[in-house]
């Protein structure tokens, strides 16, 4: 009998095209997603070399990062962003790549549209010039972010030279308490192992709490693998995965579907397979999590206090914490709950899917947002937007005093004009709280859609479980 393997090993083994001594393995890429920001220089490189896109049928483009979230009846007013969007659409046309352009009914955040259209499937290798590509790992795919040189390599050859990563088991057992979500699981993972804890590794999320998650919740977990240092994070496929995928536009159909599912059922990690590293988290002890600092590993339970730099032995680490608290203008030892905020952002490839919007709407229904707070709700895609409108969620947001906007990355990366002003605080459902991430001088508290919506109502950081009924 062959040695038991993890799903990570199986995905690797089945994609090796060539392996020569002294060189990294060449691995095949099943799905390449492309967006306007990290691709123009790659297309320019192809043009300079006179190369074609090898597999336009495995390549899909959309516009999301620099696109405005204002009504589509308005032009893109930023000329540099407009030129970038136009360039992607022109590149896609020239090289024969399907493109969900700015005005397409399928436009949206690259990590939202892949899954919702059935492009992302179990057993695949998926790459994109974006570090949150791990999102697609929720389907049992090996999905990771790449740079622009690598985008060019994949466009030209459909392959990438890669070194095998370490395998890292992230076990989450137990049952989540009410008010605690998938976002809180991943923020707890980041807080536990730190922003560099998974460097050189691929995570496999396992355990009863992971199995109990819906596919959209699994995407939230996998999405932030990079915030704990791992280029990829994945969850073995199961019936939850197949139920989600079945019938989606690009998913196999009929007999092809049956044989695909039969293949996918052999993907989960074998009994007895071992990992290079492991960490374990008890889901039933988790509280809603929130970050206080300037990287996603700086997170605490919402009832907790901001840590004291004095308690940290390592001098560089202590200085980093001090620097973070200075930037955030927070006092060590004080709780974060009750801290005034200026903006709430519900959106991003982490939390902009229909279930995220339903969760936020569930809190805001029949309530008003605090008049001091600007609340932006930005659906992940046009499809999510239409679904939400069909369910009347847009009315709930608008009646509460929130903004209901067009799909895109928006204030997660603040490239498109949606941004914080210097000194402002946000509670954001996005994935990064780096200095200036949501606008120069802006300060970000990362949290779940429930925490964001509860904080929108009160105007201060709020534990959704304590919001008055």
């Amino acid at each position: 009998m062959s040695k038991p393997r993890t799903i990570i090993d199986k995905l690797w083994d089945s994609h090796v095209v060539a392996e020569k001594p002294g060189a990294p393995a060449l691995i095949y890429i099943d799905l390449h997603l492309v967006h306007e920001v990290t691709s123009p220089q790659a297309f320019a490189g192809l043009r300079e070399r006179g190369l074609k896109v090898r597999r336009p049928d495995l390549t899909f483009a959309t516009t999301d990062h620099s696109t405005p979230t204002t009504p589509k009846t308005l032009p893109i007013v930023d000329p540099i962003a407009a030129a970038q969007v136009k360039q992607l659409e022109a590149n896609a046309k020239e090289f024969g790549i399907p493109c969900f352009g700015y005005y397409s009914p399928n436009q949206g955040i690259v990590h939202v549209i892949g899954p919702e259209n059935g492009l992302t499937q179990p057993g695949m290798t998926v790459v994109c010039g974006d570090s949150h590509t791990a999102t697609h790992g929720a389907f049992g795919a090996l999905a990771f972010g790449i740079g622009t040189s690598e985008v060019e390599m994949v466009l030209a050859t459909q392959c990438l030279p890669q070194r095998r990563s370490k395998t890292f088991e992230v076990r989450v057992d137990g049952t989540l308490k009410s008010g605690v979500t998938a976002k809180d699981i991943i923020l707890a993972v980041c807080a536990k192992i730190g922003i560099g804890g998974g460097t050189g590794s691929v995570f496999e999320y396992v355990g009863s709490a992971i199995r109990a998650l819906t596919i959209e919740e699994r995407m939230t977990v996998c999405n932030m693998s990079i915030e704990a240092g791992a280029r990829a994070g994945l969850i073995a496929p199961d019936d939850t995965t197949y139920q989600y995928l079945n019938g989606r536009h690009f998913a196999p159909q009929g007999a092809a579907w049956d044989s695909a599912v039969a293949r996918w059922r052999s993907l989960p990690t074998d009994e007895g397979a071992t990992y290079d590293k492991s960490v374990s988290i008890d889901a039933s002890s988790l509280e809603p999590m929130i970050t206080f600092g300037t990287n996603p590993g700086m997170g605490i339970p919402i009832s907790g206090a901001v840590p004291e730099p004095g308690s940290i032995a390592d001098p560089i680490e202590r200085e980093s914490l001090k620097k973070a608290l200075t930037y955030m203008a927070l006092e060590a030892g004080k709780p974060l709950a009750g801290h005034p905020i200026d903006v709430v952002f519900v959106g991003s490839c982490t939390n902009s899917r229909i279930s995220d919007l339903r969760a936020a709407a569930g809190v805001l229904k029949g309530r008003k947002v605090n008049p001091r707070v600007r609340v932006m709700v930005v659906p992940g895609s046009q499809q999510v937007k239409h679904q939400a409108e069909a369910e009347g969620l847009d009315r709930i947001f608008l009646d509460a005093g929130a903004e209901w906007r067009e799909a895109g990355c928006s204030m997660c990366i603040a490239m498109n004009g949606d941004q914080l002003s210097p000194g402002q605080y946000s509670v954001s459902t996005s994935n990064r709280n780096f200095e200036g991430r949501q606008g120069k001088g802006g300060r970000t508290f990362l949290a779940s859609p429930l925490t964001a919506a509860a904080s929108a109502v009160t105007g201060v950081v709020t534990d959704v479980r304590k919001l008055a009924q």
Partner: protein, 199 residues
């Protein structure tokens, strides 16, 4: 790609842990469709006042820093996004190597593809470099995989054989992959496609 040759340079000390790519090059400068002009925006938010004037106390704004080719950073340098604009900005400023105790995976890959050498040293060496005077010079020899400190002591650093070869010879990696076409075709011949483009 240009060949990576041995060189000596004074270092710029920047001992902050977890310097992320949003600090190296903020996202608003990513709307460009070229690789040019990023060096002036390197560390923009730490480097310039709101009105665009350089902050007088920021290290990269010092005249003495402008000719230095080695950045000494804290742990986990380059965490965050996959933007290759980060190594583009660093090399356009003039850096040829970054020394740290660890690098984020995607940044490290991107750096190696742009003749920017990420050098991992142990905590002890890192401390020695940080403790050395501001004008300390180091020598970097990729072929020998050595970092020579001002006192003449030499530290070996690791680099994978393939990246080393590409850097030293200035070989184009895409050209290398294109040569694998027969293997790619053989793989494609037995590969099962599951994206349904018929509907």
């Amino acid at each position: 790609m240009i060949k990576f040759t041995p060189f000596s340079s004074k270092i710029v000390q920047f001992p902050i842990d977890n310097i992320d790519t949003d600090q190296i090059i903020p996202a608003r400068f990513l709307k460009t469709i070229s690789k040019d002009g990023l060096g002036d925006q390197l560390f923009n938010d730490w480097r310039y006042e709101a009105d665009g004037t350089p902050k007088p106390d920021f290290v990269l704004n010092q005249d003495w820093a402008r000719t230095r080719q080695v950045l000494l950073a804290g742990d986990n340098f380059g965490c965050g996004s996959s933007r290759e604009h980060a190594p583009w900005a660093l090399t356009q400023y003039g850096f040829r190597a970054v020394i740290s105790t660890s690098f984020a995976d995607i940044f490290k890959n991107n750096a190696l593809k742009n003749s920017l050498l990420p050098i991992v040293v142990d905590a002890e060496t890192h401390k020695r470099l940080l403790g050395s005077p501001k004008d300390t010079e180091v020598s970097i020899d990729l072929a020998g995989q050595t970092l020579t400190l001002a006192d003449g002591s030499t530290v070996k650093f690791a680099v994978d054989e393939f990246s080393k070869y590409l850097l030293l010879e200035g070989v184009d990696e895409l050209g290398y992959i294109l040569q694998q076409d027969p293997a790619i075709r053989a793989f494609e011949a037995k590969r099962l496609d599951s994206i349904n483009t018929l509907s």
